[in-house]
Structures are given as C-alpha cells and as structure tokens.
C-alpha cells in the first residue's frame, strides 16, 4: 500500500537579511504510512515545527520552502499529487479537511472572548458551509472522543478551562473536518505529567479508532516509546535516523539517538551510565562540514569531518552515519568524549 504522504528532499530556508541565511529543514525525506502513528523527535531548534509547517505550507516569513516535493497519495489514485504545486486556494481547501495541525503552544491562542462552541463553528464555517446544528453535533462527537463533556465545554470560555482541557478542545477542533493526517506539535509539553499521560492515551485511542495518520512532534523520546509506531530523529535540520519504535529503543544506530537515550535520567534502572552529550547544537547559518554531529560525536574521525553521510537503508530502517554498523554493535557509548 502506498504511504499517505511522501516527503522528498524538503528544504526550508530562512532569510535573515544581514544576519545570513539558514536551512532550518535541509533535505528531509520520509514517508507517513497510512493509518500509522509516527513521531518526529528532536531538540529545540532542530526543525520539527518548521518541517510540520512546511507540510501544510504555512512556513512563516522570513522563511520559505526552497525545495522538495510533498507527494500526497489519494486512495485509489495511481499518481500522487505534489502539494507544493497546488495554488494557495487549492491548498487552503485541503488544510483542516485533509491535513489538520494542532500548533505548538496553541492552548494559549484560543480566542478569550468567544465561547468554545462559537470557535468550533467558526473553524468549520471558514472552510465549509454547514448548518450550525450539524456542526454542533459533530463538535459534541469530537469532544467526547477526547473525553470532554460537550454540554459543559461548549458553553465555556477558554479561561474557564484548564490547560489540559484547552489542549483537548484543540484536538477535538482538529478532528472536526475528519482529516486524513493530523499533526500535533508538542501537544503535551506545557502540561502536567498526569494530564500528559491521559492525552497520549486519548490520542492513541483516536488514532486506532479512526485509522488516522498521525505525526507527533516532541523533544521527549520517552513520550514516543508508548505511542508511536515509527520514530524519526531530527538533528540540525536533517533526519538522522528513522526506525520502528521497538527497533529504535532496542538498538539505536545513530550516535545522536544513542547519546540522547544515555543523557536522559530515568526513574528506574542504573544511572551510572548516564552522561550528557558534549557541546551544543550547531549554528545553522554555519553548519559543521561533513557530518553535522561530528563535533559532539564520540565516534567521529577524519571521514566524518569531511564527508556528509546520507540517510542509508539499514534493514527496515534508515540511518545517516558512516559507522552505524560499529555503533549498533556496542551496547553503550563507553568512553566520555575527550
């Protein structure tokens, strides 16, 4: 079966005038399999939000999509549709209806003087003429899916709801037009751990029930272990690893993925093997030559400093590292970086 969306060589450039230029997304390729839950993981500034915004063609200025293809496979069609070739009006048609997104930090962006019901009605009407009653019925359905009581929530103003409830309202809103692809940008980051856990459960439920294709953006690898089927790891604007969740956690192939897992303290297990990744993420205006991770990588050598690795096939998964076979064989990175 064809994937729902194939992202190919996607590039997003920010033109910072006299401060130079940078590619926040730099040659990114991946597939979103139909009905699957995929996670895009990376640290702050790695380019997650920019990638997602590019998928719905809402990259903010001074950024613009400077290359690539977004191949959308309609069911039953033999040829994909390149979303980047659609006119703005055609693309607007597809937002919400085909691809919906819950934006990072959006729980604080609801209109404070409008009841939730009106906001939901407006969302639908701006895309599709539909009678109020019908919309409200659909809204109630969606709210129930995220375990909110419609009779109470529809009448409420945003400030009457907690952060976790507002986030669930947004998820419900994104479901109003029954999208095929739902993108969630850090949907639980600002929330309590308990609320987060329940929202993740809800998302998994919805995904399974509706057979939705979901893309979850997060900086927290632990969050994806339970929810995602497939994980994409992003570093400095590029995908460095792409693997099924189980395989990734059983044996990360990229030194960065490995470093992340080793750097994060946990509640169980041994802490003595924990160590930070040295250095910091690069300035994207002047990315390091060769492999972008080389200044922080314990395996780096001369080749890494000169030759940029490509995302190559590694048996049902992909990894961008010259020495992934060697990395895969070692259990933990033993030596701290010099």
């Amino acid at each position: 079966m064809k994937p729902l969306l194939q992202v190919r060589d996607l590039r997003v450039t920010f033109d910072l005038g006299r401060h130079g230029r940078l590619n926040a997304v730099d040659g990114v390729s991946f597939d979103l399999a139909r009905g699957e839950f995929t996670a895009l993981v990376g640290e702050s500034g790695s380019g997650k939000s920019t990638t997602a915004l590019a998928l719905i063609r809402l990259v903010p200025l001074p950024g613009f999509i400077s290359g690539g293809r977004l191949l959308w496979w309609e069911e039953g069609q033999r040829e994909p549709l390149d979303l980047l070739r659609l006119s703005d009006a055609q693309m607007r048609e597809r937002r919400w209806r085909d691809i919906a997104m819950v934006f990072q930090g959006a729980q604080n962006a609801l209109n404070p003087v409008m009841r939730i019901a009106e906001q939901m009605i407006e969302t639908v009407r701006s895309h599709h003429p539909m009678p109020r009653g019908e919309i409200l019925e659909r809204a109630a359905q969606c709210l129930r899916m995220v375990r909110l009581e419609p009779s109470r929530v529809l009448r409420a103003y945003p400030h009457e709801l907690s952060g976790g409830m507002r986030q669930r309202v947004l998820i419900a809103m994104s479901l109003l037009m029954s999208p095929r692809l739902l993108i969630l940008d850090e949907p639980t980051t600002a929330l309590d751990v308990i609320t987060q856990a329940h929202i993740l459960e809800i998302l998994r439920e919805i995904q399974e029930q509706l057979g939705l294709t979901m893309l979850l953006l997060t900086h927290d690898l632990a969050v994806v272990a339970k929810t995602a089927r497939r994980v994409l790891i992003m570093y400095a604007g590029q995908i460095v690893e792409d693997a099924p969740t189980e395989a990734l956690f059983a044996a990360p192939y990229h030194p960065y993925t490995r470093g992340l897992l080793q750097a994060v303290p946990t509640l169980r297990g041994d802490l003595t093997g924990k160590r930070p990744i040295p250095g910091g993420p690069p300035d994207l205006r002047h990315p390091p030559p060769g492999c972008r991770f080389h200044p922080r990588c314990p395996y780096a050598d001369e080749t890494c400093r000169r030759v940029e690795p490509t995302l190559e096939d590694a048996g049902g998964r992909r990894v961008a590292c010259h020495y992934w076979q060697r990395v895969a064989r070692t259990v933990l990175v033993q030596e701290p970086h010099e």
Partner: protein
C-alpha cells in the same frame, strides 16, 4: 546526623490579588521541612503547586503569612540585621530563566565582580578578575578567558545557567536553591548541569534545594538525599528519596509515577496511568476543602472531603493521607526488565 541548616515550621504564604481584593491564594500551606548542612532536598510538584513560592520562602525573599523559617535555629524574621544579611549571603537562589536573570548589558566578568566587591570577598579589581576566572573554571566554563568578557546573549542556555551558578558561588553560599535549573536547557545538556550541582554539593559541601517537576532528574541529583512531593501548596509525601520511591504511599504520588513516560516501549506499554476521578488538576486558586487531592483520588471517602490529613510517619517517610495504610501499594518495578535506557 548533620546539623540542620534551614527548618520550616508550619509555614504558610497567602497571596492577595491587589490591595482590597478578597481573592486569596494560599500558595504554600502549613509546610514543615528541614534541610541539613550539605544535604540535598528535591522538591517535586506540578505547575502551580507552590514550589517557587516555597523556594523563595527558603531564600528569605518572601515573609511567611504564618509559621517560622529557622536558619541554624534562629528565626529569620526576628533575627538582627547582621544575621539576616549573613543569611541572605548563605542562601542563594538560582532561577530557571538564566537569560532573564543576567543583565544583558553587563559582561560575565562585570556580573561576577559586583557581588564579589559588594560582599568584600575580594579587595580590588585584579583580585576580582582572578576570582571570577576561578569561579568560571569551577562551573566548567574553560578556559575562563574565553567567557569573562562575553555578554549573556553570546552564550548558550547551558552556559548561561553555569554563569548563574558561578554568580551564586561568588559569596560562598551554604545553600543553593535551584529552581528548575534545567527545564529551559536542551535535553542533551541537562545532565551536565545536574552533574555540576552534584559536584558543588560533594566537593564544597553546599546544600541544595532542587526544585523541579521532573522526578527523574530529581532522582539523578537527590537519590541519596531527601524528597518532598508537593500538591496544591502542601507536602503530601516526604522522606529519604530511595525509601519514598521504593514504596510510594500517597495516591497522588502513585498516580504521578504511573504517568511518567518511560523510554522503553516494552515497559511503557505494560504500564497504564492510574485511573483518576478527574484527569485535570483543579484551579490552584480554589483548592478543594479537606484533602486537596480528593476530587481526583480513586480512594476518597467522606472524611477526605471534610478533614485535611496531616503529614504522619517516621522522619524518613511521611505521608499525608487518611488511608495511607489501607490503599494498595504501588511499585515502580514491573514484570518486564527494562533496557539499559529505561
């Protein structure tokens, strides 16, 4: 047993919105705790639970509405001025937002020089520069010459957090109150700041109050020390870190532990978050009567709605729940043995 450095006795703090407003927020409610010389206490709680407010009470920045804060046995708010100044030096607060905490038009050296001179830790500019360089080395900003004349915006988040720690060290404190020191830093760099705090504690014997919403980082720092868990302004469980985590008794702590994501799919999928009556926490401005957890607690009985439970038990493990002994125990360990990452 080490000597007690700081003790809070039944401390409460009530905020009022505006002068005449009747809206009151009891941000901290009857909290008692002690921090020993050279010890580490992790204060864990979710947003709005009152951690920062408690940290500021410990640092002497807020005066309690009720109760006493004792520094080496003396009441902070009745001691003479000299002792109070001594206290303000001995207890240093490190903010979560290092960028906001540093003056943007001052170089790192200027930021360090001011407290050094003010507290007469050095005699002149030359000594100040030497001492500042030493401090930067101490916090891992080496070689210091590279950093002394930089401005805050020229540093990364982790480096700025280190500068804040260096600034706290200028006055040779006995306690550092670190309020979410890593929450704004890249995931890959958090551990290095925690390691630095641990080193300051071990090498210099500086006590640490580590304030966080993240139990896992708390464990990294304070596993040998103490843990206090806050919920809506109150401490619901506290004691020796290991002991509390081995046998968490308060339903809130159990729910919290069951909800923390685990970076191992096999274990993560085997564990479900504990079912609560309500997913969302109540508005901290209107805490429920009786036990503040009762609207969400699966074990709540009538007494819970009426009478607030007291923190009870031996000093190394206390719980504030009417049914602490009756409710089923909950264990962190699960049937699946975790991978090296979990």
């Amino acid at each position: 047993m080490q000597q007690t450095l700081i003790a809070l006795e039944e401390v409460s703090l009530i905020f009022r919105r505006g002068w005449l407003s009747r809206e009151r927020v009891e941000a901290v409610s009857r909290v008692s705790l002690t921090i020993p010389e050279g010890g580490i206490l992790a204060l864990v709680g979710e947003t709005g639970s009152g951690k920062t407010t408690l940290g500021k009470l410990v640092a002497g920045l807020y005066r309690p509405t009720q109760g006493r804060v004792l520094f080496r046995g003396q009441n902070l708010w009745t001691m003479d001025r000299r002792s109070f100044l001594e206290y303000r030096r001995a207890v240093q607060l490190v903010h979560q937002d290092a960028f906001a905490a540093l003056n943007p038009v001052r170089t790192i050296y200027q930021s360090l020089k001011a407290p050094l001179l003010r507290h007469r830790m050095v005699r002149n500019g030359r000594e100040a520069r030497e001492r500042a360089a030493e401090l930067l080395e101490r916090v891992g900003l080496t070689p210091p010459e590279l950093f002394l004349d930089k401005y805050p915006h020229q540093l990364s988040g982790g480096q700025r957090q280190r500068v804040l720690l260096a600034r706290a060290l200028t006055v040779q404190p006995r306690l550092i109150v670190a309020d979410e020191p890593v929450s704004m830093i890249d995931v890959s760099l958090r551990l290095s700041i925690l390691q630095l705090l641990r080193e300051l504690n071990r090498r210099l014997g500086i006590a640490i109050l580590y304030i966080t919403h993240d139990l896992a980082t708390a464990r990294y720092l304070a596993e040998e020390g103490q843990l206090a868990v806050m919920y809506l302004g109150q401490i619901v469980e506290q004691g020796a870190f290991r002991k509390v985590l081995e046998n968490p008794c308060h339903p809130y702590l159990q729910a919290l532990l069951s909800a923390i994501p685990i970076p191992d799919p096999r274990v993560a999928r085997a564990i479900r978050p504990m079912t609560l009556q309500e997913i969302d926490p109540p508005d901290p401005r209107r805490p429920p009567p009786g036990c503040r957890f009762h609207p969400r607690c699966p074990y709540a009985q009538r007494i819970c709605r009426e009478i607030p439970p007291a923190l009870e038990g031996p000093a190394d493990h206390q719980v504030a729940c009417h049914f602490a002994r009756e409710i089923p125990s909950w264990r962190l360990s699960s049937a699946v043995s975790p991978s090296p990452w979990a």
